[in-house]
């Protein structure tokens, strides 16, 4: 449904009614759901009282609200069913009276109340352009609230329940809020008698999320809980540098067996004299930047054109390697010098603790497994670095030959150009570590710098 009064008050309403076979049809209100959305705007610049402000090209205030549904869950999680245990499933049959008997076993604990996951989105903002494009601004503020998230349950139930809890439930709640701003500038002027046009546009997005509800066990130590914390927060041990002396080891907690000088020291958060699962904690920042920004520049003059795109991010952490869900940072050449006979990044070797280099900042060098039974490979803050960066993602310089030169030789258009991508990065990470590497990876190969030239020829 659309409505637009006098070109000043555009309004829109849409609604959809969705059904999913993944939810029970015999429990009312679970399978079918209504998802409406609405938006309104006020084009202020069209108002008569604004007509005096001639510098204003366009100005609009807008707001929208919407509900979205998601049914991403395994089918039949709402049905109690039995599976046949046969030899193909490598499960038990039973032998009775000398005969192999079939057996049936209950599969998932069905949740007949399973229903749609919902996201409620709120958005408000304004746009304006002034002075024929000399200044353009778009501003948006948003708040997304996702609830009844289809959550795979488990882990935080006592074993005495025998697994009798829903395999899936509409449980988690997450919200995310933030702002997006784009400021642009466009202009044309004369330079040495020729027209010079240029534009610049800067955008910035800030978004922060958190779990409002997560099945944390009441007895989970406070620092491991997820409720109230960022969805992206990683669970790691807090590293406290390296052990520098036997005496320091004597007076510290450690993980597993006694470490050696030059191994990583971890913080004993609960003070029980040993390092274990309970000393892991959620640190605030994940691998995804909360703040991203970009700058696009372009200009053209007398056949020359130049464009450049900068991107950057901040408020996130990069692990010097990928972190595995099992809690280890191991298995990559980025954390373990000479892993599997491979070459090592220089920083690991140069800065390693050795007898000659007692102030080294990286663990002592070992052959084979990670030092100290692999514990130097535990996912810890030891390898987390502030990932903030600015990168010239791409740039291009071109020249288009004047038509009056080309037409006589039968060429419609001739342009030569040179372009590059990933041209430079400003960040605090060691060589070889890409701030844009994903959180879980197997030793991310950094993005390459490429430079190429080309000719575009049209007859």
């Amino acid at each position: 449904m659309k409505y637009d009064y006098d070109n000043k008050y555009p309004a829109e309403f849409t609604g959809r009614y969705d059904g999913s076979y993944k939810f029970a049809g015999n429990v009312s209100g679970k399978r079918w759901a209504f998802f409406p959305s609405a938006s309104v705007a006020w084009r202020i610049s069209k108002e008569n009282f604004m007509s005096d402000l001639t510098f204003l090209d366009d100005m609009k205030i807008r707001a929208s609200i919407g509900l979205l549904g998601n049914d991403a869950v395994s089918p039949y999680a709402f049905l109690s069913t039995y599976d046949l245990m046969d030899s193909n499933k490598n499960a038990y049959q039973t032998i009775l009276n000398g005969k192999v008997m079939q057996a049936l076993r209950a599969s998932v604990i069905a949740n007949p109340t399973l229903t749609w996951e919902n996201t409620l989105t709120y958005n408000a903002g304004f746009d304006f352009t002034m002075w024929n494009g000399l200044l353009g601004v778009e501003f948006d503020a948003f708040y997304n609230y996702t609830y009844d998230i289809l959550t795979s349950m488990g882990g935080d139930y006592p074993p005495s329940m025998g697994g009798y809890y829903y395999t899936y439930a509409n449980y988690n709640k997450v919200d995310s809020k933030g702002v997006e701003v784009t400021v642009s500038h466009r202009n044309k002027l004369n330079l040495a008698g020729k027209p010079f046009s240029y534009g610049a546009s800067f955008n910035l997005t800030f978004a922060r999320n958190r779990y409002l509800r997560y099945p944390d066990s009441p007895n989970t130590v406070e620092w491991r809980k997820r409720t109230g914390r960022s969805v992206d927060a990683s669970v790691v041990w807090i590293a406290d540098g390296l052990f520098r002396s036997e005496e320091e080891i004597d007076n510290s907690a450690w993980y597993g067996t006694r470490p050696n000088v030059g191994d990583i020291k971890y913080k004993d958060l609960n003070g029980d004299g040993k390092i274990d699962e309970d000393d892991r904690t959620r640190v605030g920042r994940g691998n995804r930047p909360e703040l991203t920004y970009g700058l696009n520049l372009n200009c053209a003059w007398n056949g020359f054109d130049l464009s450049a795109q900068f991107t950057g991010g901040a408020l996130f952490d990069v692990s010097l390697t990928g972190t595995y869900y099992n809690g280890y940072d191991d298995n990559t050449v980025w954390t373990q010098a000479f892993k599997e006979g491979a070459n090592s990044p220089l920083y690991l070797v140069q800065n390693a603790y050795t007898v000659e280099n007692p102030n080294g900042t990286f663990p002592r060098l070992t052959l084979g497994n990670q030092g100290h039974g692999g514990d130097n490979g535990l996912a810890s803050t030891f390898r987390l670095r502030n990932g903030r960066y600015l990168r010239l993602k791409s740039a291009q310089l071109g020249y288009t030959f004047p038509k009056k030169w080309m037409s006589p030789v039968g060429i419609q258009n001739l342009r030569i150009y040179v372009e590059g991508s990933n041209l430079f990065t400003i960040c605090g990470l060691p060589d070889g570590i890409d701030p844009e590497s994903p959180g879980v990876n197997n030793g991310y190969y950094p993005q390459q710098r490429t430079i190429m030239g080309g000719i575009t020829l049209t007859f």
């Binding site: 039995y82 192999v100 079939q102 074993p159 009798y164």
Partner: protein, 537 residues
């Protein structure tokens, strides 16, 4: 919209709805079939009793010989050495069965719940299936209670299952078991077949065992007498070795395996004498756990002249005198293989560098396939198993046999006034079967005789560790001791020198807190209505 609704009502094609399963007798029986595997899981061929290996290895009966830090190797000895290693998490890992038992209890409860909700076949079959499931529930709770004493009780009312649930008293726990097994005894058919569907005899036999743990002596006696009235009998003397094999007359509940299916085990691979590797290619080397000298000395002379004097062999210098293996009672030969015994048509050579070999505990770098005690286990190992044709083992696991019921009865009667004669008769029957005489006893002598007979008769059948524990004798019997074996060297003239050798490098220690196992941390973390048992706080 009606049309669309029909399209969305898809039925899964690879599984059956619970209503369909429990409304038809054939399918309902198949759903109950799945619970029979619990008998296998809790038997000695599997890990259900103890993840580290046979529970006998936590006593003075069996020694796992490899020093590798693994189950069925060093870990059973580590548990028996005790000390600071016995933490909540460690004991829960190797001896706790909490999570698995509660999963099984829940599955059985779901079965009973849905049977009652959907069954539409005749009442007799409905009661029989309920009785089978209540047998399993009573059996599972017996295992929980013997470990933990106070546990959380859940019946088939699934709505009661919740996170914060307190434990019940030990008495309430055993009452729950009593009611389940009694119902099973009353509603299952009387049939002496041990390896078909569950029988009334199996239920009462299990009840007699459970009531010993509960120390409800009269209930144990009555349950045992129900079984005794059903016409079971002991295998004849020359066939004691058949008592725990396929086709045993005295088997009351047996779980069977079949080499054509996935239902097999690997007990022979672990336990068969090391020489079988060379003989028929056991890929698992065998000889992981071997009987100790202490157990060998638990057997009497066959002629009724009592226990041999072993002091002549308790010498580290060694003696060339042959131990009196040939003169020991039949149960020794049926249970333990010794140097010179016959096995698979050959002679056991458990001497240093013999076919079956000997290895020193801890110092031998690669002891696999050799014995650290000079003996090998014969009982429950299949002599007819030819590894050339199949590596997997298929001899049945005998969960309960009649001899145990007699011993349960004897122990119950000992504790009751006026039943001494009955207790004596049971012990006499057990001993006479293997040709041993018996004179009636009373008081302390009688209970000692009952315990001795249980130890020997049921050796390596998964009872001894738990019996000693419920008698509260473990802390004295298994503390401050080291186990021994015979290191046997062959001399140039073919004779042997028997050297009494320690196969422990530390004293064993059974702390009294091990009379109850700790509640696992995962339960404490997630159930707000429980606290750790006092022994473990």
């Amino acid at each position: 919209m009606a049309h669309v609704a029909i399209i969305l009502d898809m039925t899964p094609t690879d599984r059956a709805s619970d209503k369909l399963v429990w409304s038809k007798l054939d399918y309902a029986e198949q759903a109950v079939n799945d619970f029979y595997r619990y008998i296998d899981y809790l038997g000695v061929y599997r890990d259900g009793q103890c993840l580290a290996g046979m529970t006998e290895a936590l006593t003075d009966q069996l020694k796992y010989g490899s020093y590798n830090y693994m189950a069925k190797c060093q870990i059973p000895s580590e548990i028996a050495y005790g000390g600071s290693v016995l933490t909540v998490n460690y004991v829960s890992t190797y001896l706790g069965n909490w999570g698995t038992m509660y999963e099984y209890v829940r599955r059985v409860n779901e079965g009973i719940n849905k049977l009652k909700k959907y069954a539409s076949f005749n009442q007799t079959d409905e009661e029989r299936l309920e009785a089978e499931m209540r047998f399993f529930r009573g059996y599972l709770y017996t295992d929980l209670l013997k470990r933990y004493k106070e546990v959380i009780i859940y019946d088939e009312n699934l709505d009661n299952i919740q996170k914060d649930m307190p434990v019940s008293s030990e008495a309430d726990g055993w009452n729950f078991v009593y009611n389940d097994l009694k119902y099973a005894g009353e509603h299952l058919p009387v049939d002496k077949t041990p390896n078909g569907r569950l029988t009334s005899g199996a239920a009462y036999a299990m009840l007699s065992r459970a009531m010993l743990y509960a120390e409800r002596w009269d209930d144990a006696r009555i349950a045992a007498e129900k079984v005794m009235a059903m016409g079971y009998e002991l295998e004849a003397k020359e066939d004691y070795s058949n008592a725990f094999k396929a086709g045993s007359k005295e088997a009351i509940l047996q779980y069977c395996y079949d080499k054509s299916s996935t239902v097999t085990h690997d007990f022979d691979g672990y336990m068969t004498p090391g020489g079988d590797k060379a003989l028929d290619g056991n890929s698992m080397t065998g000889g992981f756990g071997t009987p100790t000298q202490e157990m060998v000395e638990s057997y009497e002379y066959a002629d009724g002249s009592g226990f041999p004097d072993w002091s002549a062999w308790h010498t580290a210098e060694g003696t060339t005198a042959t131990p009196p293996y040939d003169k020991l009672e039949p149960r020794f030969k049926a249970t333990i293989l010794y140097n010179g015994a016959t096995w698979k048509g050959r002679t056991i050579e458990s001497f240093v560098n013999g076919t079956d070999g000997w290895a020193a505990w801890k110092t031998d770098a690669k002891p696999e396939g050799r014995s650290t005690t000079g003996y090998y286990l014969r009982k429950l190992v299949d002599e007819d198993h030819n590894f050339t044709s199949i590596q997997a083992s298929t001899q049945p696991w005998t969960e309960i046999r009649y001899a145990e019921v007699l011993l349960n009865h004897a122990e119950a009667c000992y504790h009751l006034n006026g039943y001494t004669d009955k207790a004596n008769k049971d012990i006499k029957d057990i001993r006479n079967r293997v040709g041993l005489s018996y004179t009636d006893k009373s008081g302390n002598d009688l209970i000692k005789a009952i315990r001795q007979e249980r130890k020997v008769e049921l050796a390596y059948e998964g009872h001894y560790y738990w019996d000693m524990r419920r008698w509260k004798l473990s802390a004295t019997a298994f503390t401050g001791i080291r186990l021994h074996g015979m290191k046997i060297e062959q001399n140039a003239n073919g004779s042997f020198t028997y050297i009494y050798t320690q196969c422990d490098d530390k004293d064993r220690n059974f702390p009294t807190k091990m009379y109850r196992f700790p509640m696992p941390q995962a339960e404490l973390n997630n159930n707000g209505a429980v606290t750790q048992y006092a022994e473990w706080q």
